[in-house]
Structure formats: C-alpha cells, structure tokens
C-alpha cells in the first residue's frame, strides 16, 4: 500500500523532470532561433572575449577553447562547402514541435551551387527510435531565379512536388558543373577566335554564333542546352543550325542539309570541344 503511494509521487517526479527538460530546451531553442548576430558583431565579440580573459581562467571554459571551437567548426563547414560546391549563405530555423522522440523544424536556407543561387524552405521531421533517427522532408519550396535556367523549371517543380530535396541537390550539382563547363568553353573560344565567335547572349547564354568576317550572310549557330530529366539526370544536348544566303543554298543544298547530322556524329567521335573547334576552323577558312 505504501509502495503505491511512493509510486504516485515517483511517477509525478519523473514526469516533471521530463517536462522541465523540454521546457528548458524550448526556451533555449527559441532564444537561439530568434537571435541574429552579424559577422561584425561576432568578430568584435571574439576580440572582446580574448581581452576580457587575458591571463584569467576563473575555472570557466577557457576563452581559447570557445574561439578554437568556433574556428574548428568554421574550418569544417568551409571545407564541405568548397568540396561540394554548395555554399550556404543564410540559414534560419524554427522548432515547431519537440518531444523525446519527435522534432519538427521549419528551415529557410539560401545559398548557391557553384554559380547557381537557390532559396529553400522546408519542414524537417526527425523521429528518434531505438536504433536511429529518421528524417522526412515536407512542404518543400524551391526558388531559383528562373528565366535564365528555363531547362531547370520543370525539374524544380517535380522535385518540389515530391519533397525530393536530396535529388534536388545532387542534380543541381551536376547541372551546375555542366553550366560552368559550357560557360568556360564559350569564353575560351571567344578569346581564342574573337573574329569568328560571337556570344549574343553573353557567356551565360546557351548558344554561340560562328561567322566568317569575310563572308557575310553565312552563319553557324551552335546551341548547347543542358537537359535535366525528372530523375535528375543531366545530359548536354547540342545542335547545329545553319544560316545560309539563298544563292549558296541553291548550289550547295546537300552538305548544308547534312550539316546537323555530321555535327552530331562529330560530337560522338571527338567530343564537344574538338567539334566546336573544328567548326570554327572551317568557318574561318577562305572559301
């Protein structure tokens, strides 16, 4: 009989201890999540901190420890961002729900993948069971400055619909690599053959124009699109378009009609750079 009275109190004590732990965590979480210090404030604090504790330790955490901890963490994240090409420029989160086995947080994350900027918002549900933690993304919203990346918009809406955050990052990395590669290739040829190569839409456009300065009216347009399917697979798709004056067309229909097919075969045999270079050389020839 006595034991059951004890049990009632002991149970309540346990419940209260758990509640207190959660309340304290919530208070800290809200404090952390609603505060923001700029980089200047942080640098000033580091200097202040070192000055305050010059020569004193007072049994508290040694000042160099906090600074060293921060530096080590920043080194880690800097390495990761450099290695993966995914740079996060801002992050804010809000804990919506938290108990012993479930945490729901709302995240806002902006950054860029190589040169492509993105803004994300999503809810992350983490469930803890005996063995591991499982994570589920819901309410994913992706914003990319579209217009320039029209190839991407279909892919982006599909990943948003399925909450496919991981696929988004993996595919965006691959797309960004091709995007960079295309930009560098265009720039390279523009620099090497400034008279023949024109970039009407600049280095970020998806086509270049080749023309022989001595032969007017004759143009080759190489269109290089980066196709990304719904599964996130990236493939470059190149095409050749010809612009030929009417008289030439009447005389040399054959080779001009075949040009796009030849172009595609060349791509398969020699790769993109060599093919483009060959075309440039051909365009530059005096005919």
């Amino acid at each position: 009989m006595e034991n059951s009275t004890y049990k009632v109190y002991e149970d309540e004590i346990q419940l209260l201890e758990e509640e207190i732990k959660l309340l304290a965590e919530k208070y800290d979480d809200v404090k952390q999540e609603s505060t923001f210090y700029s980089n200047e404030e942080i640098l000033t604090s580091i200097k202040l901190f070192q000055r305050e504790f010059q020569g004193e330790s007072k049994g508290q955490e040694c000042p160099s420890d906090l600074k060293a901890q921060l530096e080590s963490l920043e080194r880690e994240i800097s390495f990761l961002m450099k290695f993966t090409g995914i740079q996060f420029t801002s992050h804010s989160k809000k804990t919506l729900e938290k108990n012993e086995n479930r945490t729901v947080q709302k995240h806002r994350l902006s950054g860029n993948c190589r040169s492509l900027p993105f803004q994300l918002e999503f809810q992350l549900l983490e469930t803890r069971n005996k063995e591991n933690v499982s994570a589920v993304i819901t309410d994913l919203s992706i914003v990319m400055e579209s217009g320039e990346y029209s190839d991407l918009s279909k892919f982006v809406s599909s990943t948003e619909e399925h909450g496919n955050l991981l696929l988004f990052f993996r595919s965006l990395s691959s797309y960004a690599e091709w995007y960079e590669h295309r930009r560098c290739t265009f720039l390279h040829f523009k620099a090497k053959y400034p008279d023949i190569v024109a970039l009407p839409e600049g280095q970020l456009g998806d086509y270049i124009i080749l023309r022989n300065p001595k032969l007017s009216g004759f143009e080759l347009m190489i269109v290089w699109k980066i196709h990304i399917d719904e599964e996130g697979r990236t493939t470059p798709v190149l095409d050749l378009l010809t612009k030929v004056p009417e008289q030439v067309l009447e005389q040399k229909m054959g080779p001009i009609e075949n040009a796009p097919t030849c172009f595609r075969s060349m791509l398969l045999l020699f790769g993109i750079e060599t093919t483009i270079e060959n075309l440039i050389k051909v365009t530059g020839l005096e005919k």
């Binding site: 006595e2 109190y9 404030e41 942080i42 399925h162 991981l166």
Partner: protein, 297 residues
C-alpha cells in the same frame, strides 16, 4: 488459570522476554513508520520543488513569446549581450548548419589523416540509410574503412575515379547507393502496404535488382494470380528495364491486356505507386459496375 501459570519463575522470565520482544518490535515499527514518513515528506518536497521550477520555466517561456510578438518575431537584445553569449550563439548556429549538410547528399568530417565522408540516400522526401567512407589523403588517396555493402561495386568505381577525381568518385558511388536504396524502399513499401494482395513472399536479391512476386488481381468477382518478374539492369536506375507479368493458364484471355498494362506500369512508375494505381483503377471499375455511367445516381 493460564495467568496463574505465568506467575511461576520461568513464567515471569518468559513474560519479561515477551514484553521485551514486543517493545523491540514496537520500536522497529515506529522507526519504520518514521522512515516512511520521512521518505514521503522528501518525495512531497521534491514534487513541490519541481512544480515550482516547472511553473517558473512556463512563465519564462510565456514572457519570451510575448516579447517576440511585440518585436515581430526577432529577439532584440534587452541588455548588451556578453561576448561569450555571442560566441556561443555562433557556435550553435554553425553546428546546426553542419548538421543539415547531410541533406545535400554528401557531407563529411575532417579527420587527422583525411576525411570521413558520408553519403546520404533518400527516396523522395524520406531519408534512408547513410553510408560512410573513411578516406586517407596521405601518402595517397585511399579508403581505409567504409560501410558500403559488398554488392555495390565500390572497388571498380574507386579504381576508375578515386585517384583522379574524388568528387566524381563520390557522385558515381552516390548514384549507385541511391538507386539501390530506392529499389529496396519500393520493395519494402510493396511488402508493407500491399501485403494483402501479395501471395507468398516477395523474392529479391541483395542488390534488389531482381524481384519476383505473385499478386492477386480481381476480375468479375473472381481473383486471379499474376506473377511479376522485374529486372533492373541499370544499377543506377530505380525503375526496371524489364517487367514480365504473366497470369495463370486458366485465366480468361481478357486478363492478358491487364497483364500488359501492369508490365507497362511497372516500367514507368515506382513499384508501390503502380500498385496504388491498380487499386484505384479497380475501385473505379467496381464503382462503374455498381452504378454504370449514365445511369441515374
């Protein structure tokens, strides 16, 4: 009569002993009672203490919420924050961002002799298992330890890319691992969510790129057994390259069309989604039978 007996010599001693024993027992009981009361009092006090602390925290939180609402959701610093507080905030902030990195698919930690990479896998919004590779960078790039399952061609991929382009290596490995995780997830979902339609066990190999299973298909009030054999020839793909669906020989000829439709579905959409669509199609079929279109509702 018995009382007179007690007044003999032995009786007195015995009586005294008995009284002593009784007194001792009473003392013990008294002590026990006091201990119990002490313990109870202690527990009560603890409960009071905890309740007070809990109420204090609740009030603190309420105040915090009120201040936040007044300031539009951002905490303005009421007192000048200490340098320590600012640093601690920044540390927590960077830690949180580091923890999120696994969502991108490739994350890691610097180690003394290299990097320990972590490849995350996911199916749509659900993150699945993560795989680790402990990579040393000196004297040359090599994998010291890893948790990649043996049926993933890690050595082949490493041979091709590890020395020349480690990013490519991780990316290709991630493709293999994610495709495997997605195939496994689909098979698991089929077993979990459509167990009532499956007959017998779903047979699969460790790489989950060959699945054989039997399932029921209702038609005209009867149920027919279909057999499906799915082959995923591309290790980086989570959809089958080949889907052979057959029905039992006694099935009506019309079902051959259904089998063909199922085979097509398996090749186009995820396994569990294909089954979702079958169920829906069968439901509408049933509804059409009960109330055919065009009839008054």
């Amino acid at each position: 009569m018995e009382e007179r007996k007690a007044y003999s010599q032995d009786g007195v001693l015995a009586h005294l002993e008995m009284l002593e024993a009784q007194a001792h027992e009473l003392a013990l009981k008294q002590e026990e009672k006091e201990q119990q009361e002490e313990k109870l009092a202690g527990l009560k006090a603890r409960v009071q203490e905890l309740r007070a602390r809990r109420d204090e925290l609740r009030a603190k939180l309420e105040l915090q919420q009120k201040r936040l609402l007044e300031n539009g959701g951002a905490e303005t610093h009421p007192e000048q924050p200490s340098a320590r507080a600012v640093l601690e905030w920044k540390i927590k902030s960077v830690k949180a961002l580091l923890q999120l990195f696994y969502l991108t698919g490739i994350s890691g930690k610097l180690t003394k002799r290299g990097v320990c990479f972590c490849i995350s896998t996911a199916y749509e919004g659900t993150y699945l298992e993560s795989y680790y590779l402990d990579v040393l960078t000196k004297p040359e790039v090599q994998i010291q330890r890893h948790s990649v399952p043996i049926f993933i061609p890690l050595e082949q991929i490493a041979k091709k890319y590890l020395q020349t382009d480690i990013r490519r290596f991780l990316s290709v490995l991630s493709d293999h691992l994610n495709a495997y995780a997605a195939r496994r997830y689909q098979a698991d979902q089929l077993q979990e969510r459509f167990s009532d339609r499956l007959e017998g066990t779903l047979q699969r190999n460790s790489l989950c790129n060959l699945l054989v299973f039997h399932y029921n298909v209702p038609s005209d009030g009867r149920s027919f057994l279909f057999t499906a054999r799915l082959l995923y020839a591309d290790p980086c793909c989570s959809l089958p390259t080949e889907a052979i669906v057959s029905c039992t020989p006694d099935a009506p000829a019309a079902l051959a069309e259904v089998a063909a439709a199922h085979s097509d579905a398996f090749r186009r959409v995820a396994l569990h989604k294909a089954f979702d669509s079958f169920s829906k199609a069968e439901e509408t079929q049933d509804e059409a039978l009960i109330s055919p279109p065009g009839s008054p509702q």
